[in-house]
Symmetry: C2
Subunit: 617 residues, 2 copies
Amino acid sequence: MDSDFGIPRELSPIQQLRSQYQPQLPPCLQGTTVRVELGDGTTVAKAGDAHIIARAFPHTLGQPLAHFLRATAKVPDAQIITEHPAIRVGIVFSGRQAPGGHNVIWGLYEALKVHNAKNILLGFLGGSEGLFAQKTLEITDEVLQTYKNQGGFDLLGRTKDQIRTTEQVNAALKACTDLKLDGLVIIGGVTSNTDAAHLAEFFAEAKCSTKVVGVPVTINGDLKNQFVEANVGFDTICKVNSQLISNVCTDALSAEKYYYFVRLMGRKHSHVALECTLQSHPNMVILGEEVTASKLTIFDITKQICDAVQARAGQDKNHGVILIPEGIVESIPELYALLKEIHGLLKEGVHADNISTQLSPWSSALFEFLPPFIKKQLLLHPESDDSAQLSQIETEKLLAYLVETEMNKRTKDGTYKGKKFNAICHFFGYQARGSLPSKFDSDYAYVLGHICYHILAAGLNGYMATVTNLKSPVNKWKCGAAPMTAMMTVKRWSQNSGSTSIGRPVIHPATVDLKGKAYELLRQNAQKFLMEDMYRNPGPLQYDGPGADAKAVSLCVEDQDYMGRIKKLQGYLDQVRTIVKPGCSQDVLKAALSVMASVTDVLSTISSSSTSGQQFA
Amino acid sequence: MDSDFGIPRELSPIQQLRSQYQPQLPPCLQGTTVRVELGDGTTVAKAGDAHIIARAFPHTLGQPLAHFLRATAKVPDAQIITEHPAIRVGIVFSGRQAPGGHNVIWGLYEALKVHNAKNILLGFLGGSEGLFAQKTLEITDEVLQTYKNQGGFDLLGRTKDQIRTTEQVNAALKACTDLKLDGLVIIGGVTSNTDAAHLAEFFAEAKCSTKVVGVPVTINGDLKNQFVEANVGFDTICKVNSQLISNVCTDALSAEKYYYFVRLMGRKHSHVALECTLQSHPNMVILGEEVTASKLTIFDITKQICDAVQARAGQDKNHGVILIPEGIVESIPELYALLKEIHGLLKEGVHADNISTQLSPWSSALFEFLPPFIKKQLLLHPESDDSAQLSQIETEKLLAYLVETEMNKRTKDGTYKGKKFNAICHFFGYQARGSLPSKFDSDYAYVLGHICYHILAAGLNGYMATVTNLKSPVNKWKCGAAPMTAMMTVKRWSQNSGSTSIGRPVIHPATVDLKGKAYELLRQNAQKFLMEDMYRNPGPLQYDGPGADAKAVSLCVEDQDYMGRIKKLQGYLDQVRTIVKPGCSQDVLKAALSVMASVTDVLSTISSSSTSGQQFA
């Protein structure tokens, strides 16, 4: 870890322009009066998980949703916080870097200083390891100067992205106590926010007064649920990648002789690949969720691609662009099984060189069939969250290799008569992750930073900052906070013996919803994308003019604003209560009872059926 | 080749905005009166090559430079062309795609239509193969609509990038004759413009009335000489790559655990890598020209990088970004020798599988030492210009592999005590080549297109369109044309027998000038870049606001405008002639004679010494 964190640096003209950009605040966060409305207590997403989650979170389960309201809002029950004693807050980057992360710090800092000039914000240097070692940098105007609206996590750095072991949580507790922190804000994705939730519970149990707040920041876009519509960084990553993909499409169309296999960063699920496809219209995308749903083998996928190449050759098209999410390797059943076996053997201490001899016959056959470069990559040790080192496994090269082999075979057979198949492989990962954040990510992160303050001012623990109605302009955004325990689910595995093994409650990454509108949009156009080269170039990230205010397609097509709709329902219930007050007519009461009985009936039926199906992974 | 060329297509908001952008014309090209000033006949760059080039170009050698002047310019000798009979012009993409190429077509089309509405512009479909097969598309407003200021070459496509064999030049001659073309405009880099020059000579010899014009369009930036300051596409490529490099730098600085080895497209020479370094300040760049000048072996380079890693680890920095030009593999002496041997054997028909056994002992030792993936890539057949398939040879992985091996060795030895070295490799090529062109490239290409018309209107054959003073705003640009023969040189190889073999006259790619100002700028900062992480993020390509009008650093630091300075000298000579007219005083004449004698003396000495050193490659 070097000692250059937080130093001012020379900015290019665009960086300077961006450093002077001031994101807007939604009306509810303007001014210095915080109004919090606490709703009903939350439930867990799956009723069947309730007792397991309750056991793990005796202090922080069932807390209500929080809505932050504008000063003039007419909500009688809202709590108005006018006293703002000086507080001390710590903030730590605990996930992989994502464009916009710095703005969470800036937003929180601004909110702290607006409410009490004596408030203190300490940044932990070098991520979670800096937290354990109590290495801090006090955030000041000067420190922030050259980091506002800038990419990366380099103001503070990051390291291990884990606050989980007994040793780690104790070190975190000690740091918060020693530094007299009233709040600890943890910036990261699903894993880091899961850690944040467990830490909040641990602090509550230990009667530590530090409140823990999580912020959804991850390029993968997989921290999505009823409360969280989007993650900081996803918008930028998809725009930068879509620009590059469409450049490759233009290149393909100019030279007309190559198939480009482009692997995209994004971890296990295919949110990035889906969004990029909707933005840039490449010929084909293989989503991990489709592979899982249809139980496609690597040979099925190869055949799919080969058939597409052959169909296009029939129209004299010998070029194309195919997107491959990096997580697909874990979606292909037989490859996943192979990876699990390898990881199991690695855990047992078997050396990588000896693993091939200890595999099951089926996995061994598959392993021997694979080309050497991919064998070596599959033998890598898994990541800290037990997943494979997805960024290191060149699935795009494996598929290109298998497709080429099959096309050559078809040529020999005489079943394919087109031109020779030529592939070029690309991995788009690190070159997007460090980008200047888009306007959307700059705004979103800044607002989330402000919300962190309001959560702490309201004395809430174990909450994640949330903004809903994100597809509308900033002045329509709705700000709130949701207990992280309400986002947790539990996985169950069937064991060989017939018994069931139960996982720890965690915030699981969301899969691409194959019934959702974004996927529907893809399916409607997939055939045209495949055959008609409808390549679309969203262009480089702009900060001015057309495109500067563009938002992710998948964000805009979905009916979201879950929290807004929850509020709307509460409004109806309140109205019923007002209309049916003692003194109302018999008829009104009768009508109300009849309708409400029916509503209650329908909802009970639906919600029991949706929770009875247990999830097995 | 598919039949979708030139079809209108759906544009994204930014593409639409750009399609409506109207580049400015410099004053000299405004209006419908063309004024051409022809200077003195040109000489060849190296006096020693003169007789060889003369033999190859009896008709087109020694033609004068042409300057296009504004209607009001007071130049008595300028030829004013007021008659514009209808002409027919063909245009072909004969080089690899480069952002801005479409604007050459648009500029030429506009100029044609402004001067005579009956002028016809035919685009050849599918590059040089379309030329040979006489496949054309008439360029119209409608065809251009969705291609103005857009990337790629997909309006017309490209194929082989070669018009060289007897069969090919005859097919071109037949196409031009059959289609009754007055002009043929060839868009491409050094190779395509060399072909254009030879074709112009061949047409002149064959008394074909079609005039051939070349346009410098190549992302490599290596078509540089006294007359040509920059190439269309280079500015965009460097900006897109610099954005990605600086994103990677930000990523490196956030995670602090990886060294990124980034290979850049750009063919044999290192112009792209130098410019990207000046724009984004990565820690290190290895320029091919430095390697050649210092005769560095692959082991020297490995050691250089390892020493840098070690020095940085001493300052607790365990991350970094290193740029590798793709052409470096041909600059490293022993690798180049190995490649030449392999290509020789491939030419003799030896199968790739058997080559390793037929190499010389030295090359064989090197080959056996290399890791398998690179062996396979070195065995690929060379490109049509006899160079290696640079985009397929993963030099960045080879260097990362060698550095890792050496760092592990140093760790074992105890000479390196830092953290484990981790490398991530990237190749930035195709994802930049298809980009939307920058403002500079859009403007430059559009103006070059206009100049092509003026060259044809002046009846010139074998010329390249040129713009000088490019670092100034468009209204200061100077437009002209230079005979392509004046850009040619001849290479000589010493043979084993002591005799010398002489190459065909060609426009050789320019090397990075190690005495130039751009390289000087790099050298002055190299140590700071290496140790101090002065990463600079030029940001995504902008079309508005700061950065939109930025130009390449290497363009701006050099004193260029060679053609402007030639004109300035001619001005002095004219002034002397005016002052020293018959009737002037004895003293004036005496002074003039004395000074001119001395000037002539000095110049003779300098120019004979600069041509006596023959170039051996």
